[in-house]
Symmetry: C2
Subunit: 380 residues, 2 copies
C-alpha cells in the first residue's frame, strides 16, 4: 500500500501580512497530481489542516474543494486529524457522515482512539488534545503531561492491536529522541502546551510500522526511519526558508516500509537574500523575500523601494550594523556643557557610524549650526 | 409525502446575554421525535441554521449531531439552505460529500438552482444571496433588488420544470402580499438588504405546490396556504413572546397540499409579565421573562431582586411611569432666586410624581433643609 503522508497545511495562514491561500491552492493542486501519478492508495494529513481555530471562509472553501476532489473524484481515502492550530469541534463537523465517503477526519478526542482499516492496514487516528482534556475524558487523574497522555492512549491501542498486522499511527505531537535538540524546529510552530512539558519521547512510538507525524515543519525522521514528520505543505516563516519541503510517499509492507520524497514547485518560493541595498535594486523576483541588508548605513524607507522589484518582500533587517547602545554615547554633564555643538555631533557620528566625520562634513555642520543659532536669536 | 418544514434555528443565538444552546438542543430533540412520530419523509430547514456567520463551536457541534442523527440514524433526508445569518461558504463545507448521505445543504449560490428529487417530489434549494452577488454570478446587470434576483432565479426554475409534477421551493426571503403590513415581523430578524428593497412580492411564488419559507420568525402563511413561514425554532426576542412556535408538517400530494402544526414544549418559555414589583416578588419562574413593571415609583436595583425568583429574567421596563422632561420643570431664573428651597422641592416632587407633597413630608423636608443649612454655616 502506498500512502501519501502530509501534514501542517495551515490553510488560511497569513505570513507577514501576505495571505498564503493562492500558494496553498497551488500546492494542493500538486498534491492532487501526486495522488494520481504516484499511485497513492490513501492520503494522510497529520494535523493543522487550518492555521487557526476560526479559519477564514476561503480556507474552509479550499479544504472542502480539495478533500472532496480526492475522495470523490479520485476515489482515494483521506485520513486527517486535528492539530493544535485546529478547532477540534469544528473539524469534527460532518465527520461521521464523511466516513461513508472514505473521508476519515478525527477532530475531537474519543474514549478509544479511532481505528480505520484500509486494505488490511490499520490506521490509528490520534487527534491533538491538551493533557488536561485527556485526563478528564479518560478519567485518569495521573495524566499531567503530553507524554502521560500519549502513553495512555498508545498503551490502549497496543493492548488491543495485532502486531502481526500493519499498524500506522497518525499523530500531531512534538516527538524527541532523548533531548530537544534531536529535532529541528521552526518559528511557525506554536507551543503545544503552556506550563507542562510538550515533548513525547520517541520510545513510546516503537512497535508501529509507521508513525505519520505532524507539528514540526521540517521534514525529518525522529531516530528511526519509520517515525517521520512529513513537514508542512509550504514554508511558513523565515526560519523555514532553507527547508526543502516535500510530500512523503510511504510504501507500506509488513516486511519493509520505505519512503521517498515527492517534491513540487511552490507558486512562490520563500527565500532569504543577503546583499547590499544597491545590489538588491539590480535584482527582481516575485518570491517571498526576507532581506538581510549588508549595508552599514541606514537606508531611507528601504522596503518601499525594494517592493518595486520584489512585490512580495516580507521582511528586512540589517546584518552589519553595530547596535549603538546608550552607554556607548554616554557623556558626563560637564562634557555636554563644555563641548560645542559641532564637537558633540562629531562624537555622535563617530559613535554611531564607527567612522570619523570628514573635515568637509565638519565644516558643513559648523556652518549649519551657526546659521541655526543665528536664526534662533533673530526670531526670539 | 410528509415533509417537516422548519426554519430559523439560529443555533448559537444569544438573547440578552443568555445562550440559547441548551434550549436549542432540547427543541431539536423534540424535532427528532417529531420526525419519528409524524412519519416524516424529509426535513426542510429554510435558512439561518446558525445565528451568525462564525457560529460558536457548540453550535457547530449541535448542528453536526442533529443533522447526522436525522440522516444517518433515522435515514430521513434533510434539505437545508443558507439564510442571511449564515456564512454561505462555511455552510457549503462538505456539501457535495453529504449528498451521498441524503443531506442536501445549499450554502452558496450556483448558476442553476439546485434541484433535489425525493420520492417523485422536486425540491428547489434557493440559498439566500445578496442581489449584487446574484447580479455578478448570473451576469445579469439588470438585477438590482431582491425581487429582481428572485424573479430571475424563479423564472429559470420554471423554464425547465414540469408543472405536472410536485414542485417545492425552499427559500429564505421576506415575502409580502402587496404591502409590508401583510406579514408579521419580529425584532430578531436582521434586514436582508441595506439600501435596496428587501421584499419579494408573493405573486412570484405562484405555480409551486408548496413554498417553504424562512426568515420571518412568526409561523404564518403569505396570501396562500401553500406559501408558508414555519417560523423560528424558538422565541428569540421579546417581540416574539406572544408567538406560538411550531414545526409545520406538510402533506404533499399533487391533488392537495395540507399542513398541520406540530407543537412542542420549549425547555423554558419566553414571556412578558406585566405586574407590580411587589406582586412579582410573590411569584417565581425559570422561564425567560421580560418584566413590565406597573409601579409608578422607581425601584432600587429591581433586576437583582427579581432574579432571586426569576433566574432567567431577561429585561425590565416601567410601563406606567410618566416620562418627566426638562420642559415640565423649567423655572425662570427669578423663580429660582425668589423661591425657598422647600418650595422648590415641593414643585419638583409634584412635577416628578404627579402628586402633592403631604404636609408631614413638607415639615420633614423643611427641617432637613434647615439642619443642612445650619451645619454648612458652622463648618465654613
Amino acid at each position: 500500500m502506498r500512502v501519501l503522508h502530509t501534514a501542517d497545511w495551515h490553510l488560511g495562514k497569513i505570513v507577514n501580512e501576505f495571505s498564503m491561500i493562492e500558494d496553498q491552492r497551488h500546492a494542493l493542486e500538486q498534491l492532487v497530481e501526486a495522488v494520481k501519478t504516484q499511485n497513492i492508495d490513501a492520503v494522510i494529513m497529520a494535523g493543522d489542516l487550518y492555521d487557526r481555530s476560526l479559519p477564514p471562509k476561503e480556507a474552509v472553501a479550499l479544504a472542502d474543494e480539495v478533500l472532496t476532489q480526492i475522495v470523490n473524484e479520485l476515489g482515494i481515502p483521506v485520513l486527517a486529524i486535528a492539530g493544535n492550530h485546529d478547532s477540534s469541534e469544528r473539524l469534527e463537523y460532518g465527520s461521521r457522515l464523511f466516513t461513508q465517503n472514505n473521508l476519515f477526519i478525527e477532530g475531537t478526542l474519543k474514549h478509544e482512539t479511532r481505528k480505520v482499516r484500509i486494505d488490511g492496514v490499520n490506521f490509528y487516528l490520534m487527534p491533538f488534545s491538551d493533557p488536561a482534556f485527556v485526563r478528564e475524558k479518560m478519567q485518569q487523574p495521573d495524566i499531567r503531561t503530553m507524554e502521560d497522555a500519549a502513553r495512555y492512549q498508545i498503551e490502549a491501542i497496543k493492548s488491543q492491536w495485532n502486531p502481526a498486522e500493519l499498524n500506522v499511527l497518525i499523530a500531531h505531537a512534538y516527538v524527541i529522541n532523548g533531548d530537544v535538540d534531536s529535532v529541528e524546529t521552526s518559528d511557525s510552530e506554536r507551543p503545544l502546551s503552556i506550563g507542562t512539558a510538550e515533548y513525547i519521547p520517541v520510545g513510546l512510538l516503537e512497535g508501529f510500522d509507521y508513525v505519520a507525524l505532524g507539528h514540526l515543519h521540517k521534514p525529518q525522521k525522529v531516530k528511526e526511519a519509520f517515525i517521520r514528520y512529513s513537514g508542512s505543505l509550504l514554508k511558513y516563516s523565515k526560519s523555514e526558508a532553507n527547508h526543502v519541503k516535500q510530500l512523503t510517499v510511504v510504501d507500506l509492507q509488513k516486511s519493509s516500509v520505505t519512503q521517498e520524497p515527492f517534491y513540487f514547485e511552490p507558486l512562490r518560493n520563500m527565500r532569504v537574500i543577503r546583499d547590499s541595498f544597491e545590489a538588491l535594486l539590480k535584482q527582481r523576483s516575485d518570491d517571498y523575500i526576507f532581506f538581510e541588508l549588508t549595508d552599514s548605513d541606514i537606508i531611507f524607507d528601504p522596503m518601499n523601494q525594494l517592493r518595486k522589484k520584489f512585490p512580495n518582500a516580507m521582511g528586512l533587517e540589517y546584518v552589519n550594523r553595530h547596535v549603538t547602545t546608550v552607554t556607548d554615547i554616554a557623556l558626563s554633564q560637564s562634557d555636554l556643557k563644555s563641548k560645542k555643538l559641532p564637537d558633540l555631533f562629531a562624537d555622535f557620528y563617530e559613535n554611531y557610524t564607527h567612522s570619523t566625520l570628514s573635515s568637509d562634513s565638519r565644516s558643513l555642520i559648523e556652518r549649519e549650526f551657526n546659521d541655526a543659532e543665528r536664526s534662533t536669536h533673530e526670531t526670539h
